[in-house]
Subunit: 488 residues, 2 copies
Amino acid sequence: MIDSIYESPLYAIVNPKSIAFFGASNNFMRMGSMILSSVQALGYEGNIYPVHLQEKKVRGLTAYASIMDLPEIPDLAIIVLPTNIVCQTLAACGQKGVKHAIIVSGGFREAGPEGVALQKELEAIALKYGIRFLGPNCLGIANPYLKLNPTTITAEGPPGFVGLASQSGSFITQMFDYLHRNGLGFSAAMSVGNEANIDIVDCLEYLGVCPRTKVITLYIEGISRGGKFIETARAITPHKPIVAIYAGGSEAGKRAVRSHTGSLSGPNEIYDGVFRQCGIIRAQSIAELFDYALALGTLPRPKGNRVIIQTHSGGPGATAADACSRAGLTLPPLSEETVEKLQPMIPKTASTANPLDLTYSLNSEQNFFDIPDILLQEKNADILLAYFLSPGMFIERIMNEMGIPAESIPVERDKMLMEHADAFFSLTKRHPDKLIVGFTYRSLQEKMVRSLLDRGVPIYQDPERAARSIAAVLEYYKMRDGMTKTPA
Amino acid sequence: MIDSIYESPLYAIVNPKSIAFFGASNNFMRMGSMILSSVQALGYEGNIYPVHLQEKKVRGLTAYASIMDLPEIPDLAIIVLPTNIVCQTLAACGQKGVKHAIIVSGGFREAGPEGVALQKELEAIALKYGIRFLGPNCLGIANPYLKLNPTTITAEGPPGFVGLASQSGSFITQMFDYLHRNGLGFSAAMSVGNEANIDIVDCLEYLGVCPRTKVITLYIEGISRGGKFIETARAITPHKPIVAIYAGGSEAGKRAVRSHTGSLSGPNEIYDGVFRQCGIIRAQSIAELFDYALALGTLPRPKGNRVIIQTHSGGPGATAADACSRAGLTLPPLSEETVEKLQPMIPKTASTANPLDLTYSLNSEQNFFDIPDILLQEKNADILLAYFLSPGMFIERIMNEMGIPAESIPVERDKMLMEHADAFFSLTKRHPDKLIVGFTYRSLQEKMVRSLLDRGVPIYQDPERAARSIAAVLEYYKMRDGMTKTPA
């Protein structure tokens, strides 16, 4: 196990100061051109050296006919060339002194016996020149903190705390928007492709010591270095959570995986056992993978599994209670003390059982501070799960009725919503030991919820997802405690 | 079992030609005013008669000091008054000759012994005057086809085919936006509250014969008329699917339910048994409830469970394959005939296993018609599950690179996207016996996906949700066939 990212073969690949780019041209329809355009779009500030036999300029950048002509030895070579010239290109990089590469090009191990031979050749060249590389047949990396996105899709949303090591390139390149909509962002993401030289264990090791990564997510189709994977994961989970999705466990998953990366995958039970042994949380879908990451990366360590649900609607409260129960969480009754404190603030129709159902309330301000503040003081509970409807919609209607001019409403509404959001957010500071989680059926992009998501309050589209994510946090700490008690 | 909605006590409640409204005033902060404002906002075209002791006009409508003063006998009375004057108001309605009411006011059975007595009084008054009513303690109904929305929240999105009978008002009033974002809309929705006079079985019966309702959804906290429920559901499921969520099965769910509507709920196993016996699909969350409804309401009867996955990305393909496997679907290999037909259209790197992984393709047009058209001709498969990335994003980038002026790009892009959507949609007409389902990690609101959703092509945010929804369709027909073979 390494102690810092500087020791990792991935360091220069994820954090290059300069890049030689092979396969971009002034024809935008080429994959290489599209990747270079993504790099430029996000605003990478290091030097980029396109290498192109004919063109003097590629996408506005000075191009070089050969890697040998570059004015410096670049930290990284990105290769998006036809299969048959990849080996010679990597060799040229080696001659120049380049030590790190991302090989996007496919047509190797995944493409049959000829490809297998070609991949062996590639490995030999790397060995000869001391080159460490990601791929081939990968989509490289994304490092939003460095404004570096050498993938086929434009990056959206700010950086975040999710590290991803993936045996699928799509989940690096195609999830920016999904993550952002759900309140997340990558710290660093790596797609390993055929893992000829750097594999998912190397990525895991990097993410384990990456200070910007608070939660590691893994998309796994099959692990070849099993022992090393377990050793590495066991060294990480005591201080950083890992969530993994494994797609090769079912019959159809196994076949899909084989034709995708050529990996040999094992039965579900084996991976379940490995994950358990390592303290890794298993997710069953991509949605779960990132749902769990959101909770694990934002919530403090829970003291227990006792949830109070705050709602102003009976049905959402009951479904949330049911979802919590099924996820192994408990709902304690509110103590007399809490009920007494609540009494002056809640309508007669409210229920002070748990869920606390405020029903139709007149003072929405109290819903976002005073009432949850009391609930968070409850000594018999560890977690607050709050239902968010859409205060913006009500505020808008009320302002409209009050005769406030239509053009002023959005500004005034947003001001009020931000006050609500600020008040609710301040609870996370006042009660740092309690878990505060939300759910809504409205869009996560509505002002108040979005503002809370942006500040790291996990809010989910459905109470089921919220409850399961809370349960994942509890499971993580339980496994972690078990591991420290019984070393490997 | 009734033969038409005209025979139902709910007919005039869901389809009133005129409404007497109690509890709205010119003070918008009252719940009644807010409900009346929702009715006005959606544009209900029947007569509305606010009844108010002092005001001559309420929200711009002529108000009447007493129900007796109304120029006609209204089809429906909506009562949103303080608990203590609800009984006398219902009696006055009876004297006028009103036969149907929605009683929104709470403070009855759910509020303790005094409330129980008050509810009994309400029931007696109704009996005396032959009044049928929904509630008390409910949020009434929504009938978007009649532009009638007497709930606290503004309706959003067009009408649809989902009928909802709910023991929670929130799921009537708070789901308009959720449904619309997910490609759905209500045909009619009813919240039953305390079920003093009309219960969820009556609603089920209505929805069973409602011609606009293609799928019935139920939110259940506890059923009192068990025998009648089973009889009614068994009469419906052979021709119309029912999906139900039951929140009272877990310990916390049970307690939440008791303080919400005062229902006594039974253990999960009992409800599982009842649902199975009736051919009702059980959903575990609100998200599942409507996910299943989408598939059941849009897809034809499947001939089998054999799925072909079309993707251009390995990871999403593999997770979809794994999700299908776990949901009990199978992935047959493509026949030689199909592979032969595909060959000229797909790149060398593509995999013709199932998932068909097109990898990086140059001609996106073929992805939306020619290729899926071939897959839908495959004799060994019944279902196509297609992955949607975001063609709009690529088109935009390409147009930008081609130097098309920024201001023309959105129009040109949307034109192309609509051509893609039209082509893909036409496949549902060419292959009426096959199921066509999509999934994406992008927002469902992006142009092309949204356009398909609007035309009834079910597209889900995650392959897991798509696979489980397809499985729900298969389960429905399996149960239905089982029922017709073995009558009650």
